[in-house]
């Protein structure tokens, strides 16, 4: 590689780093300001309502709340650059340790949910497009509408009542049965993955029976979204001339629909899937509450309601990383499915 090429590469790498840094700084600044303007006293979370005045005052100073806002923010950023994200006031753990515990729970749930949404949503969308205006289309439309409009809280509780309490098909709230607690060494924190890696299939089965219902509830919403989008993309493609050409050439309908038309909507569809996956990875407070799922959504929400800013900012950075990561992953996948992007 010549010098110019290396320089160019460095330049573009520097540009990416700069953009990412600025994005994060902006994100943190806005979150920080929101956290400081909500009328909640952050000291309360640390010492409770009943602490005497001197303990309260000492804690306020320890948290650095006597300093001007810009200085508090600056101190926080300076620490972050040294890799110190501070401690959460609510859990008294380092924020990094907390996120390393709650994020895998959310990752597990969101991934299973997205897989279900994709596996069922795309075929449903294709079927609706192919049978446009017929009962199959109406069915998918109604299912999709329900997915958008039923409150997740209600759906979760009804799901528990039916599949857990009445039918006994799946396990109840929580990530694991009590008998399976601490049986495997956490590697990634994603129990399905860890248990599979360690060959602990009973733990895997237990974890699977716990994740399947909350994932179905979340997956239903991504199914609704993905099937609607697939349908409209496909309808557009099926009107194209190349489809007519393919049919004229005598290709089987299956091949026309599943290979040619679907192949051509893969790029916009990837964006839809990535967006819905990223949304789920932020954590879903209500689903996590109903299913006692110790995930990122509850963590960030609880922290925000206590003005526990270290935790909120740490969570925000995590969500930012997820979005940037998924964007990059989508870019790579584009290149795989679309030869023109290579």
């Amino acid at each position: 590689m010549n010098q110019a090429a290396i320089l160019g590469l460095l330049k573009s790498a520097a540009r990416i780093v700069l953009t990412v840094t600025m994005t994060f700084l902006g994100l943190l600044l806005v979150t920080f300001l929101i956290g400081r303007v909500v009328p909640i006293d952050p000291v309360l979370a640390a010492v409770g309502d009943r602490a005497p005045a001197e303990v309260y005052e000492r804690t306020r100073l320890e948290l650095g709340l006597d300093k001007p806002l810009w200085q508090q923010f600056w101190l926080y950023i300076a620490k972050v650059f040294q890799g110190d994200f501070g401690h959460s006031v609510l859990t008294s753990n380092p924020v990094i340790a907390d996120i390393a515990r709650v994020f895998p729970a959310t990752l597990e749930l969101a991934t299973v949910a997205t897989l279900m949404g994709v596996a069922l949503g795309i075929p449903a969308g294709v079927m609706a497009a192919v049978h446009q205006g017929r009962w199959q289309d109406q069915l998918v439309r109604v299912l999709g509408l329900m997915g958008y409009s039923i409150p997740v809280f209600w759906l979760g509780l009804m799901g528990l009542l039916l599949f857990y309490a009445k039918l006994g098909l799946v396990a109840g709230p929580g990530r694991q049965g009590v008998a399976f607690d601490d049986l495997i060494t956490p590697i990634t924190g994603v129990i399905l993955l860890d248990s599979a890696l360690q060959g602990e299939w009973e733990v895997f089965q237990d974890a699977f029976s716990h994740v399947i219902l909350p994932a179905s509830v979340l997956g239903y919403f991504s199914l609704a979204y993905i099937s609607r989008m697939t349908r409209s993309f496909m309808i557009e493609q099926l009107r194209q001339e190349y489809v007519v050409t393919a049919r004229v050439k005598g290709l089987s309908e299956r091949r026309v629909v599943w290979r040619h038309a679907l192949g051509n909507v893969m790029v916009p569809l990837l964006t839809v899937i990535a967006l819905s996956y990223a949304n789920l990875l932020e954590g879903s407070v209500l689903t996590e509450t109903v299913f006692a799922w110790p995930g990122l959504g509850q963590y960030i929400t609880n922290s925000l309601l206590s003005a526990d800013m270290n935790a909120v900012l740490g969570g925000t950075i995590m969500v930012g990383i997820v979005f940037i990561g998924i964007n990059m992953l989508t870019d790579i996948l584009y290149r795989l499915v679309d030869p023109r992007a290579r």
Binding site: P39, S92, M127, L157, G172
Partner: protein
């Protein structure tokens, strides 16, 4: 034109996979293991397992099952004290020097012997770290500088404590029954000390006690697990393992309980309790707790500052209707600031719903047509429901109540800054002595905005120099009978004049499966014990 068979095949394939997955998803163990007790509970309030720091309801309950204290009170008759680690105790004639004799042969979980040195160290470290519950000890005059002189082990079995003033002995004893006075394993804690923190960082998530259980793990907002201490000095605990899982949603708790996946559900609401009564496999137990549910009327508001208005609002609240329709099973009617179970608590209930009387008082105050006022209300059951009921009741006399809903910490922040009109909330006692509530409800040493002591009386800007003096005098009253009578007198005066509409006392309700029993529900959360719980 369309190969529908292939779509059909695909659908069949999907259905097949889905059915297979469901079969695989089947839950493995329906019942919890025999020697393990599992509870579903809201435990997101825990910030520490350090007895010198823990001050939240759930944290105190956990800590109390891992540590012992010098003395405790009888759970059925709180006025009786008994020695737990201490064999005997006495106070000298000066009223300031206390001597505790410890039992012999006591041991910590680690195997280290438990001596008077440990007891002295434990109290000293609580004073030194001075976290939220630290004042329970420091109010007796201990500071970081004098604690080594005033709290001393004179030999392996004797602990001597010198308090600043001749306080009422019962006051000091009851404060020693609090969580903050738990005895920690000084050797083990010192080994885990970091930067002079008295082991605080380590003790947050580890235990160093002598109690019936030791901590295996605590995962914030997720669960805590305890293992039995088989050689506990009061006998081996009935079950080997206690697992408490954080389940925020009461409806989910109910499902887990009825399905047998948990043995205890700890936070069921009125709706779930009524639903669960039909289930023959579930039993419900109740225990009176110390929390008081009340309205605080800010005296900075000119209208609320009129004595007639304060009294009118007390007659205008329909306590019985709220009890019957909203809080039955979770609260009982109660109208004085000392909860039942405390020395000197009165059970008088002078107020009931009386519209005519209330209207007459409003007219006397020159507000015959009523007035408008706001109430800061936390946005959860049953508080918001009670607020709505009060809104409807007060409206009958023309009092227009505007409810301002908010999250817990948000309304509390406003209340603490005295920016409210009316606040509806709960107050739980800090320790088992009447002074805890008397101080907060009936003392206000300085009514200015920058006061040092910010009691509930201060939060409502209630200026009461006389009552403050009377209440303060009672902590020095040596005669227990006179002390009791003094508190009763203050409560009666308080009921008449205070800006507090005291409505209810909390009851804790625990639902459990029929095959499990033995949970001891004490009068405070740090007197809920696990050691008798066993499966039949």
């Amino acid at each position: 034109m369309f190969d529908s068979i292939s779509i059909g095949r695909r659908a069949a394939l999907f259905a097949g996979v889905a059915v297979a997955a469901l079969g695989f998803a089947g839950p493995l163990a329906a019942q919890t293991p025999k020697d393990t007790i599992v509870m579903a509970k809201q435990i997101d309030d825990i910030i520490s397992m350090d007895p010198g720091e823990s001050f939240e309801f759930s944290g105190s309950e956990a800590v109390t099952n891992m540590y012992d204290r010098l003395i405790r009170f009888d759970l059925t008759d709180v006025s009786k004290l008994y020695g737990s680690l201490a064999e005997s105790w006495s106070v000298a004639a000066d009223g300031k020097t206390y001597t505790f004799k410890l039992k012999s042969g006591l041991k910590f979980h680690s195997g280290n012997p438990l001596t008077a040195e440990d007891a002295a160290y434990s109290l000293q470290r609580a004073v030194a770290i001075n976290k939220s519950p630290g004042f329970i000890l420091t109010q007796f005059g201990f500071t970081k500088d004098n604690m080594k002189d005033r709290i001393k082990a004179t030999d392996a079995h004797t602990l001597t404590i010198i308090v600043e003033k001749p306080f009422a002995p019962t006051f000091f004893y009851y404060c020693l029954t609090a969580t903050v006075a738990s005895v920690v394993d000084s050797k083990l804690v010192k080994q885990n000390e970091k930067d002079g923190d008295y082991g605080n960082a380590w003790l947050k998530a580890n235990s160093a006690g002598s109690g019936p259980y030791k901590l295996v793990s605590w995962k914030a907002n997720e669960s805590y697990t305890m293992q039995a201490n088989e050689s506990w000095f009061r006998g081996k605990p009935a079950s080997k393992r206690i697992v408490v899982r954080h389940v925020a949603e009461p409806a989910s708790q109910r499902l887990l309980l009825e399905k047998g996946d948990v043995d205890y559900a700890r936070n069921l609401n009125k709706d779930q309790l009524e639903g669960i009564k039909k289930n023959a496999n579930i039993q419900i137990e109740q225990g009176r707790k110390g929390a008081i549910l009340y309205l605080g009327l800010n005296q900075k508001n000119e209208k609320l500052a009129k004595p007639e208005i304060r009294e009118a609002l007390k007659w205008l609240t329909d306590y019985d209707a709220i009890e019957a329709n909203i809080v039955r099973g979770r609260f009982v009617p109660h109208q004085s600031f000392l909860p039942q179970g405390f020395l000197g608590a009165t059970t008088d209930r002078p107020y009931k719903y009386d519209l005519a009387k209330a209207k007459a008082l409003l007219a006397k105050a020159g507000l015959a047509d009523g007035f408008s006022v706001t109430m800061d209300t936390r946005n959860n059951a049953p508080i918001i429901d009670i607020a709505q009921a009060i809104q409807a009741q007060w409206a009958k006399a023309g009092v227009k109540l505007e409810i301002i809903p908010g999250d817990g910490k948000q309304t509390l922040t406003k209340y603490r800054a005295r920016n409210h009109d009316i606040y509806i909330g709960q107050w739980g006692p800090d320790y088992q002595d009447p002074h805890t509530n008397a101080e907060t409800f009936a003392m206000n040493e300085d009514n200015t905005d920058n006061a040092k002591s910010k009691t509930l009386a201060w939060r409502n800007a209630w200026n009461i120099p006389d009552m403050t003096k009377k209440t303060a005098a009672l902590v020095l009253e040596q005669d227990a009978k006179k002390r009791e009578a003094g508190y009763q007198e203050i409560q009666r005066e308080h009921q008449k004049t205070s800006p507090f509409v005291i409505m209810f006392q909390e009851i804790e309700v625990v639902a459990h499966n029929k095959n499990v029993d033995g949970f001891i529900l004490g009068p405070s959360f740090d007197n809920n014990f696990y050691y008798n719980i066993a499966k039949k």
